[in-house]
């Protein structure tokens, strides 16, 4: 794996390029890692995946815990690894034990032998040895070491323990590290800035995975915690984070110098029947007079279950070139949702992924033009103003 920073804006936000062995093209950062279940998107089948913008959509994230109930590491090895098993040879895979959708860290049950997660198969304790056995058989392009993540309100003692364990497990993981595959050292420390600093300083590796976020810390306290980590990391190596899913949270991460993001946002929108509609055009003026006639619209997204869309024969977003908007109407998706047909989720995941990748592209453009700070301010402000307008009009 190769990584290089190409541009900086407002001091810390960086635009870079990452190159992975299996992907034919380099991928620009900040970028989004698409969520998968067992290596494939949750609803988008592999033949439809290629309709998403490339190479933006070529980085996928999975958790080895997805395979706790088979096939065995031995079988996966004999098939040739994850890329081979899921038939996505030209994609990049990032392995992280935590998957913000269905493998959530359960810090209460984590102990000195391993990290505990809530999964669809129940609570699982995974030890570094088992974790590395899975990583070795799956051969992801990059992987994060096993971490003991704690939420922001953990007390100092628990926080210190989590850092001690994470550093110890890092050594154990690296000792069993397979050839090939970039190692991202995990950094934890909860809401204790000193602990975060300590963890960051102890770990020096090919890239950094920042854990412990998206577990209950507030929007206000997050920037200082993020900076406590990123300020102590070497600038030339990529930083990956889990748990910052919403657009505003992503912007906070970018402002602190994070390069790779996972997101559960697309999944939750999709299963809720929502489609993203917020404007991606950065030159658009804020329209204070726009009509609030749509039910279920907050200018970020629309709720396609709303009856107002029953006869709407227009696409979700007028000039969107995703498969869904090119082929189907809001009326059809509204019908599919009402009759509980799986095609609704497939079409929504395609559109939402396409749209969110567009958001990341806007971020990169803003950084390259040196105006990321303004971009972030304007984005957050326009959302707030919209909410204020809502209140006034009621």
């Amino acid at each position: 794996m190769k990584f290089a920073v190409k541009a900086l804006s407002s001091g810390k936000a960086r635009a870079g390029v990452v190159h992975l062995g299996s992907c034919p093209s380099s991928i620009e950062t900040p970028c989004l890692l698409l969520s998968t279940r067992k290596g494939l998107p949750i609803f988008i089948s592999p033949d439809l995946l290629s309709s998403l913008p490339s190479p933006d959509s070529n980085l996928l994230q999975f958790s080895p815990l997805h395979f706790s109930e088979g096939p065995s590491p031995k079988t996966i090895s004999s098939i040739g690894g994850l890329h081979q098993m899921v038939g996505l040879h030209e994609y990049g895979f990032a392995a992280v034990a935590r998957d913000s959708i269905q493998c959530l860290p359960e810090c209460g049950s984590t102990n000195k032998t391993g990290a505990s997660f809530e999964t669809p198969c129940g609570r699982r304790l995974i030890k570094p040895v088992e974790y590395m056995e899975m990583i070795t058989s799956m051969k992801p392009n990059l992987w994060a070491t096993l971490a003991d993540e704690v939420p922001a309100w953990a007390n100092n003692k628990r926080n210190k323990t989590s850092v001690d364990r994470t550093v110890k497990w890092l050594d154990e993981c690296i000792a069993r590290s397979p050839a090939g595959g970039a190692v991202f050292g995990s950094i934890v420390g909860g809401s204790n800035i000193e602990e975060r600093k300590r963890c960051a300083q102890e770990i020096i590796y090919a890239g950094y995975w920042i854990g412990g976020f998206g577990l209950g810390e507030s929007m206000e306290e997050r920037p200082s915690l993020l900076n406590a980590v990123t300020d102590n990391l070497p600038k030339d190596w990529p930083r990956m984070i889990c748990g910052l899913g919403l657009p505003e949270e992503v912007l906070q991460g970018v402002a602190a110098g994070v390069d790779l993001f996972d997101s559960a946002y697309i999944y939750h929108l999709t299963i809720g029947g929502f489609a993203l509609t917020f404007p991606l055009d950065r030159t658009e003026k804020i329209d204070y007079n726009y009509q609030l006639s749509d039910q279920g619209s907050d200018r970020t997204k629309i709720n396609l279950r709303a009856t107002v869309y029953r006869k709407d024969a227009t696409p979700i977003v007028e000039d969107c070139c995703c498969y869904t908007c090119q082929n189907h109407t809001k009326a059809y998706i509204n019908h599919l949702l009402n009759v509980h047909e799986m095609l609704a989720q497939i079409l929504l995941e395609i559109h939402n992924t396409h749209h969110y990748l567009g958001f990341f592209r806007s971020i990169r453009e803003a950084i390259k033009e040196g105006c990321f700070e303004q971009f972030q301010k304007k984005f957050v402000q326009s959302r707030r103003e919209h909410l204020a307008a809502d209140v006034v009009s009621v």
């Binding site: 067992k38 088979g70 019908h335 599919l336």
Partner: protein, 334 residues
Amino acid sequence: MALRFEVLGRFNRARAAQLTLPHFACQTPLFMPVGTQGTIKGLTTDQLEEIGCQIILGNTYHLALRPTSELIDELGGLHKFMNWPRALLTDSGGFQMVSLLHLADITEKGVTFQNRIGADIIMALDDVVRTTITGPRIEEAMYRTLRWVDRCIAAHKRPHEQNLFGIVQGGLDPVLRYAIGGLAGGEDKDSFWRVVAQCTAALPEDKPRYVMGVGYPLDIVVCSALGADMYDCVYPTRTARFGTALVPEGVLKLKHNAMVNDTRPIDPTCACMVCKNYTRAYIHCLVTKDAMGSQLLSYHNLYYMLQFPKGDVPEWVCNAMDVAGIDISSCCSS
């Protein structure tokens, strides 16, 4: 005339034909997947085109309920609503409506709904009765179906864009086109083929014959040999959602524990995207747990159903038929 049926090749009673419909020129014998609510579960229209789907069946009753036939009409018909460029067939809605409305009231309503939905082929309402019943009920069903077909013909508002298929119940009938109904309901196979044989013998040669609700691959082969041309069934997609794949040897239950570490494809002779890329072990870990499992298996099962009636016959079958003295050389890929 909204339909043209041209027989291109024969083998005894079996025929290969071209059925030209307003939206698509189809090759028969053909299989129609069932898209009950305006979608084939878990597959996009692009994927369906790719695997060779020619006609999809829609259920009038379900569509009349949601989103209603008026809405579909207002938005330009079902083809436009679901963005399916090829052919569509809708059933009469009678079968499902039975318990809710007095049967005689829906004869014309069913045709009206179907006119609004706009499918290439629409079905006349029939009085459905099982072939396993004996007695005066059969004769009653036959005469009633005949009377209803006359009412359907009278109510049909778009004869130049949509083709009305009459349904043979309990007897034979000289109407525009022919569907053979009342089967696929659990009668024993020996009775089933005899009814099909009797119908195809008596029905006119130059019109397509549609055996409703059939079915299993073997049944389709037998009916085609006897002279039928069109089939529909929920079986391939429904069985996919329960983790079962269709293979030349029969079925493969992907849920079974034996599949956990089986690194072979579902069917090594199948050229579909699923068999080319995935192992039984991987599909096993998906089925019944993840939506993707249903999608991939539905894709494979429909590919299997859509490719086999006209697809390449494996060499071993050609060899076996040779020995059996049956000439299928026209079906074998050279």
